[in-house]
Every structure is written in structure tokens, then in C-alpha cells.
Amino acid sequence: MSGSQFSLLDGDVCGDERHLTIEDYSSAVPRWCPGCGDHSALGAMQRLLESEQLKREKTVFCSGIGCSSRFPHYLKTYGFHGLHGRALPVATGIKMTRPDLNVFAIMGDGDCCSIGLGHWLHAVRYNVDMVAMLLDNNIYGLTKNQTSPTTPQGHKSNTQQQGSYLPALNPLSATLGITNCSFVAQTSDWTPAHLFQTLKAAFHHKGFSFVRVLQRCPHFTAGIYQDAVRHPDNVELLTHSAGICEPEAEGLYKNHISHDPSDLHEARRLAEGGNGKFRLGLFFRDESRPRYNETRALPKYTAEEKIEILNAELDRYAV
């Protein structure tokens, strides 16, 4: 998503003139559990806001309901902490009417992939210019340990005590399967530098940028990403000059897959996984896809002009 490309309003008032620091973008102290991956995602996001010097008053974070959806409360920007599963419609309404705003949508896996699945897949197709971040801890955190669509098969939860019955839904494949998809990346909370670079690429992408963050929940799914955290061998990094280049991760992870993010076919194959490894990096990017917020941009008329047009409209119905 690009920054404020054009301003809807005449006489746009400048907010912050000085250089803003991370503290300037921070609000309340996060209330997530110690070790929760959401802390890292928040840190990376604050770094992004700081490095891009985004105007706080021109930035909106939308979220649903869940541990992860507390996100906007910890940022000193505008925010809309709405309904479980419904961050995206609100974000869509905001961006469609206010193209000058930077819009982010933060969702959990229950939020995005279960109750909000319809909105998610349609948002991919609308390709409205925003960053959508899925904080995927493979579980319902806030409501205390219920199976989510991304819970690995066999993982025990309070609702599926014998272990999850179904194979987990793959959010990357789902996103890449939708027509008009334009940006799909995966990163993790334990690779903060890579997470930051991914958010940065997502922010600069014009269109709907879908970022799945593998997020640890020490409280309920402690072991889930352990293999990848402890043994870098279990991670495969997608690298490419057009992808996400981040030296720290490239040094840590020796398994590199050179993947051209313009190759949708290959992106889908890689997203499928198959060898049990976690793949981080940019799967797909295509800036040429039409963006609904631009196709449907609102023209500007003054009240007087509108009345003139309306009067002509009334003429058509005149007796």
C-alpha cells in the first residue's frame, strides 16, 4: 500500500511536522501474555510507522475481536476495534471513501479464516489498497483455547479434546487461489527484522497486501512453531531480488528457495508446502491488478454542483 497519494480534502491540514519517534506512535502498554508473538508484530509495525513517518492522524488500524485485535489500542493512530471477523468491511468502507488514509486491518486466525472468511476472500478480490495482517497462532486465544481453522490436525484444544479432526486450512493457498490476488507474504514473530521488511513491502505495494504472521501463543499453542524456532533447518526462505531481502534471516536460514514473486503458479505450489517446512518470504506480488478503491473512486462535487445535477434529475420526474 502506498502512502497518502492524494488528498481528498482541499486545504489539507498538516498534523505532525516534527520527526516522530516510536514512542510517538505508541499508546497504551500492551496487555498480551509475556512471550506472545503479538508483541513482536506490534514492534515491527511501530518501526514501520516510524521509518515511513506516517502521519498519525492519516492512519487507521481496523481490527476484529481476539487477542490480536487489541492491536489498534496500542498505537497512537486512529483505530476501529470492531466485530469478530469483520475488520475488512470496515477497512474497505474507510479506504473507498478516504483514499488519503493509510489503512491497516489486523486479524486473528479465527477472525480472518473462520467467521470472517467470506470478507477475507472477497477483500482479496476487491484488492482495495491496504495492509491486512493475519496473526496466526493456530488457536482461539481470547476465548481460551478453542480449535481454529488453522489448528494443526490432531492438536488438542478445549473444544476438540481428542485433537483437531480436520486438516488445517492453509491461508496462503486460499488467498493465492482468489482471482485478483495481488500480494501474499508469510513471516514470523521470531524473525522481527524479516517481519518488519515484510510489512514494509506490504505497505509499499499498491493493492491488498496479505501478510500472514506465524504467531506464537505460549499460553495455548506453545509447541506449534517450536520446530521452526529451534531448528532453522525447518525453515525455507523465499529469496529473490524482487522479493523480501533481509540479511539477518538470510544468514540464519540456510535453506533458500529462489522464487520470482511474479510467478503465481510457483507461488501456489510453494504455498502448498508438503515437506513439513515453514516457508517465509514473498510468495506473490502483482501491482497490475485493478484496485476497487480506484475503479470506484468518488468524484468531488460541491454542494451547489450537486444541487444542479439533482435538479436536472428532478426534471426527469417532473409532472
Binding site: 489498534p72 497512537k76 486512529y78 468491511p89 468502507g93 472477497h122 454542494a303 444541487i307 434529475e313 428532478l314
Partner: protein
């Protein structure tokens, strides 16, 4: 020989056909032309629920009722005086619904008598037999045969022939008829328009050659400019006049045509109809747009309203302005998609789990559909609340002329404030008396806050402190009290006191008033009043009610009949407004309701009023 001329102050016409034969187009044009000539007009669509019901089927009757008058016409009347029917089955449907006057004049296509299919011939015979028991004057018309001289498929031409026939009977201004055809078929080719005009002329000629009578409903000369449209168009136009330019919706009958209209009009006037993936997304997008500075709106009907429930609660909680138009149809569930009902009142008011005070306005006429959108936008913005506009299928498709609104730039929403928020103001800095607070809009420096559906304090910080939650509840509710203070008591039509007061809301106003006027003419001490605001209620109701021995509501929703098995005074389920008024005033309000998937008829309401006098109503 000069035809005999019947002079009438009002007349009711119906055109009925199988679905797809265009009776509705015929009726619409007849209605529009009559309005343009200066007649009072009210039209109602007769709509089958299915797109392609079987041919020659009573359930599939499709068409229009047009009531025209010398004065303003406020409802669809009692029974039709003149009918054009394309087959005997659709005519039987109207006959069985007692929709036709005893002495109705019926123009009936008679090709069925000699139809090749024996079954059709038998149906025709039986049908005419059944109809012969009434005293209708049936005039057979060989529509098919005549139309085939111009078109290959008479199913595509009879409606224009019928239009010509009616226009001749009612001596309509032919120049206006032709102009209206050109307008209605503006997206079609010249050839289509010309052929339609040719068919109309055939209808006129047939009438001239065969009919010994004409009907005169003289128009009233008026120099007041008028416009004529249906309720959904009026809602769309009202929204534009209010400066609302973002509408998110999901298609649902009978609300959808608002979006059809606006998709066309916004293209010129600047605006977006966003067809979302479902009703939940639609209202969510509207809330997003409102949060970002608009007053956005969504338009729906029963099942869609059900889906929007959670988001409407969120808009209330976050005090995000929102206008929701609910074009009521028959329910519950999918119910009767194309038919009128007034059964969403309580769902609109109490649909949200938790206490969610909101404003409910019910326009009673097409004109009010227009103006209520302007009022709704203003209230939603000034009070940071949800305003629901309850119209219904009757208003949605009904066509009525009304004085052309004088558009006012002050009706238009202003561009959102982007100036800095004054230091130390908070996003929910509720005025302790009024509960009102200043709205912060993204883009405003120093206004950064996070709207949340969780209980929050004045700074929008999440708070689980009981007192904070209690304060929020109180402040959101207080706004409704403040608004009610600005409202006027409803007017009473008729004497200010008497034996019976009839209370209505929404599209039934015209029919109720006509019925009450008749009752008064018969010497009954009846008056009526009509509520525009259902929440908050207009002031003074209890006092007005106290001047009448009895009060009853008249509504198009279900109420139990006292004589029915198991139904007692105690367990009787009442009409929706009745329930509300009893709670509101503690007056023992009674109700009369009729839920037949059609607008109320003055004669039926009159019957309800009479019963209230003779049997003391339900009590």
C-alpha cells in the same frame, strides 16, 4: 354516435397479466401520464414472488393497480372499477381476493376460448362460469389477434395495446403518453419505441370503434410544480439531496431498486453504490465510511436486517452515524419477498442484544420517503447514532406525485472537518446533560482514538469498570430523550376528543384517514393520528389518548383474534405498535390488523372501526 361520458372524482384501474407480459409497464405509464396531467395518483404493483411463474396461473398474477383522482390520492382504494386482464386465470385471482368492484368493467383477452389446447378451453369455460356469478361487465377484446398485425410475439405487445385502450377510455393526453413511452424505453432502440407507439394507437382505435362510453376523472389545475416517482426512487433521491454519496448494499427484494436507481443517478451526481458480498459486509462498509467522515447508508429488507444486527449495535456503541433503510416485506424469514408488511418495527427497535437506543422514522408517503432521508442524515450526524428509516413494499413500488422539493444546499452533508481537535477534548466527551459529544474524524490532528465496541470511557479507553459502562449506557440513551424534546406531538385528524382514536404508522396513513373520514361521515366519533417517529416517540401521546374512550392501532402485521382457539385476553399477541404504545403510555390500547400481503384498504379498515363500536372491539 358520441360515446356516453361518465364523470367521476376518482377511479381505480387494474392491469393484470402473466408475469413477463408487461402489465406493470402499462400500469406505470398510465399512472405517470395521469400524474403528469394533474390527477392525483397512487399506484401499487401486483407482484408474483417468482420471476417466471407458470403461465395462466392465479398465483402468478402480475400487474398494477392505479387509482386516479381529481384531488390527491393517498392510498390504493377499495376495489377496482376497471380491469384489463390478459387471461381469465389472473382475473380470477383478483376476483377471489375481492379486489374488484361489483360493477367493475373488465376488458378480457378472449383468445383462450378457441385455444388449441382442450384443457385451456375448459379452464376458460369454468373461469367464465365462476365470474358470471358476479355482476361484472365483461368486454371481450381480441388483443392477441390485433397485436399480431404488428408484432410476431403478442406477449411482447399486448401491454402497449392495453395502454392505448385505457388511455382512450380515460381520454388521456396522447402527446404525454407518447413522451412517457419514449422516456420509459429510453434504453431501447427507436424501432422498439415506434412499435410501442403503434400498438398504443391500435388500442386507442379499438376503443374508439367498440366502446360506447368514456370515463372522465378531471385533473386539478395547479401551478405548483410536481414530480412523480416511486418510494425507492424517492429514498435514493432524498439520500442525494442529503449529500449522502456512499451506499453499501446486498440485493434483496423489495429494497434492491434503490440501488438500481442510485447506480444510475450516482453516475451523474457523484457517489458509489457498493454491492458488498453480503449484508453484514454492506453495513460494515457503511460504518467504515461513516467513521471516516461520511454519513453512509445501507438499504435492506427483513432477512438482511437480521444479518446487520450486530453491526448496528456496534455503530450505536461507537456512536458512528449510520442510516439504515429497511423496506419491509412479509416475514418472518424469507416470508413474502414482494409483499407489504409492517412487521419489522420491534426488530428495528429491539433487534440488538444489549441496550441499543436508536432513532426510527417511518415515512407515510412517497414524498416523506424523500424528506425522511434528509432528516435521517441530520439526526444521525448530530446525535452520532443509528437512524432507521422504515418504509415498505407498498411505498417502494408505489408511484405518487408530490410537490417538487426545493433543494437546499443546507440539506447537504458538509465535508468532514479536518481541522485539529481542540486540546484535551476526548472522543466521547459526553455533555453531562445531553449525552452529546463531538465527533472526531480520521485526518484530524490530535484526534487519534480507537473506536471500540467494548465498554469504554470518554477517552474511548476500554473499561470494565461498572460505573463507566453505566455512564455510557446512560449517555447513549439520553440522546434519545434530547431528540424527543425537539419533536412535536402528532396531529389529530378529526375532533380532538371522541369515542375512538385510530393510531397508525408508515404507509397506511392514507387508507386509515380515508376510512376514518368515512366513519365520521356516518356519525361515528372517530379521529386518527399517525406517528412518524417510532423511536423516540413523539411527545404528548398519553395526553392525546386520554381524550378518547378507546384507542386502537391499525397495522399490517399479525395480531391474534380474540375468538380464536386458545386465544385469551391475557395471552393474545398484539400488533407491534400496539405493544409499544401500551408500554409507552400504560393506556389499554387495542389493535386491528390485517396481514394479507397487500396494502390496507379503506373499506377493510372501516370494517375494523365499525366492529370496535358494535362489539366493543376485542375486549
Amino acid at each position: 354516435m358520441e360515446p356516453e361520458v361518465l364523470h367521476c372524482s376518482e377511479h381505480t384501474v387494474e392491469v393484470v397479466s402473466d408475469s413477463g407480459e408487461g402489465a406493470q409497464k402499462c400500469g406505470q405509464i398510465f399512472g405517470s401520464v395521469s400524474a403528469k396531467m394533474g390527477n392525483g395518483v397512487w399506484t401499487v404493483e401486483i407482484i408474483p414472488a417468482e420471476i417466471q411463474p407458470p403461465a395462466r396461473n392465479a398465483a402468478g398474477a402480475s400487474g398494477n393497480r392505479i387509482r386516479i383522482g381529481t384531488q390527491t390520492v393517498t392510498n390504493w382504494g377499495d376495489r377496482a372499477n376497471v380491469v384489463v386482464a390478459f387471461n381469465e386465470q389472473v382475473l380470477l385471482a383478483r376476483h377471489r381476493l375481492e379486489a374488484l368492484a361489483e360493477d367493475a368493467v373488465i376488458f378480457l383477452e378472449d383468445m383462450w376460448e378457441k385455444h388449441e389446447d382442450e384443457k385451456v378451453r375448459a379452464e376458460w369455460q369454468a373461469g367464465l362460469e365462476e365470474l358470471s356469478r358476479a355482476r361484472y361487465r365483461i368486454i371481450r377484446v381480441p388483443m392477441e389477434e390485433i397485436c399480431l398485425t404488428v408484432v410476431d410475439d403478442a406477449r411482447k405487445g399486448k401491454n402497449m395495446f392495453a395502454l392505448g385502450l385505457l388511455c382512450a377510455v380515460y381520454t388521456r393526453d396522447m402527446a404525454k403518453v407518447k413522451a412517457q413511452i419514449v422516456h420509459q424505453f429510453r434504453s431501447k432502440s427507436d424501432e422498439v419505441r415506434e412499435r410501442n407507439i403503434q400498438l398504443v394507437e391500435l388500442g386507442v382505435r379499438w376503443a374508439e370503434e367498440h366502446l360506447p362510453f368514456r370515463i372522465q376523472v378531471p385533473p386539478t389545475e395547479s401551478d405548483r410544480p410536481m414530480v412523480v416517482m416511486n418510494g425507492n426512487e424517492a429514498v435514493g433521491m432524498g439520500a442525494m439531496a442529503a449529500g449522502m454519496d456512499y451506499m453499501a448494499m446486498y440485493p434483496i427484494t423489495p429494497a434492491t431498486s434503490v440501488s438500481h436507481y442510485l447506480a444510475e443517478a450516482f453516475h451523474k451526481a457523484g457517489g458509489v453504490v457498493h454491492q458488498a458480498e453480503d449484508e453484514i459486509a454492506a453495513v460494515g462498509c457503511a460504518i467504515g465510511a461513516s467513521f471516516a467522515g461520511k454519513v453512509a447508508f445501507t438499504v435492506t429488507s427483513g432477512p438482511g436486517l437480521a444479518l446487520k444486527t450486530e453491526f448496528i449495535g456496534l455503530a450505536t456503541m461507537t456512536e458512528t452515524p449510520l442510516v439504515v433503510v429497511d423496506v419491509q416485506r412479509g416475514g418472518p424469514s424469507t416470508g413474502l419477498p414482494t409483499k407489504v408488511e409492517q412487521a419489522d418495527l420491534l426488530a428495528a427497535l429491539f433487534g440488538q442484544p444489549g441496550d441499543a437506543p436508536k432513532v426510527i422514522i417511518a415515512p407515510a408517503t412517497i414524498e416523506e420517503c424523500f424528506h425522511s432521508m434528509i432528516t435521517a442524515r441530520r439526526i444521525a450526524e448530530a446525535f452520532r447514532c443509528v437512524v432507521m428509516v422504515l418504509t415498505d413494499a407498498n411505498l417502494a413500488t408505489g408511484v405518487q406525485p408530490f410537490p417538487r422539493p426545493k433543494l437546499d444546499p443546507r440539506w447537504q452533508a458538509r465535508q468532514p472537518d479536518q481541522g485539529p481537535v481542540p486540546k484535551d477534548t476526548r472522543p466521547y466527551e459526553w455533555d453531562a446533560r445531553s449525552g452529546l459529544s463531538r465527533r472526531f474524524i480520521p485526518g484530524q490532528p490530535e484526534g487519534m482514538f480507537v473506536a471500540t465496541g467494548l465498554s469504554h470511557d470518554e477517552a474511548s479507553r476500554v473499561s470494565y469498570v461498572a460505573a463507566t459502562n453505566a455512564l455510557g449506557l446512560k449517555m447513549r440513551s439520553r440522546k434519545m430523550a434530547v431528540l424527543s424534546e425537539t419533536l412535536k406531538p402528532p396531529e389529530v385528524r378529526g375532533d380532538r376528543s371522541g369515542d375512538l382514536l385510530v393510531v397508525g404508522w408508515g404507509s397506511t396513513k392514507g387508507a386509515i384517514e380515508e376510512a376514518v373520514d368515512r366513519a365520521r361521515a356516518k356519525g361515528l366519533k372517530v379521529s386518527s393520528t399517525h406517528l412518524t417517529f417510532l423511536a423516540p416517540m413523539q411527545p404528548g401521546l398519553k395526553e392525546i389518548f386520554s381524550r378518547f374512550k378507546k384507542v386502537m392501532t391499525v397495522e399490517i402485521n399479525h395480531s391474534d383474534e380474540l375468538n380464536d382457539p386458545f386465544v385469551t385476553k391475557e395471552n393474545r399477541r398484539l400488533s407491534q405498535l400496539c405493544w409499544l404504545l401500551r408500554a409507552h403510555t400504560l393506556v389499554d390500547v387495542d389493535c386491528w390488523s390485517r396481514c394479507f400481503g397487500e396494502p390496507l384498504r379503506p373499506d377493510h379498515i372501516f370494517g375494523g372501526i365499525e366492529r370496535m363500536f358494535t362489539k366493543g372491539g376485542q375486549r
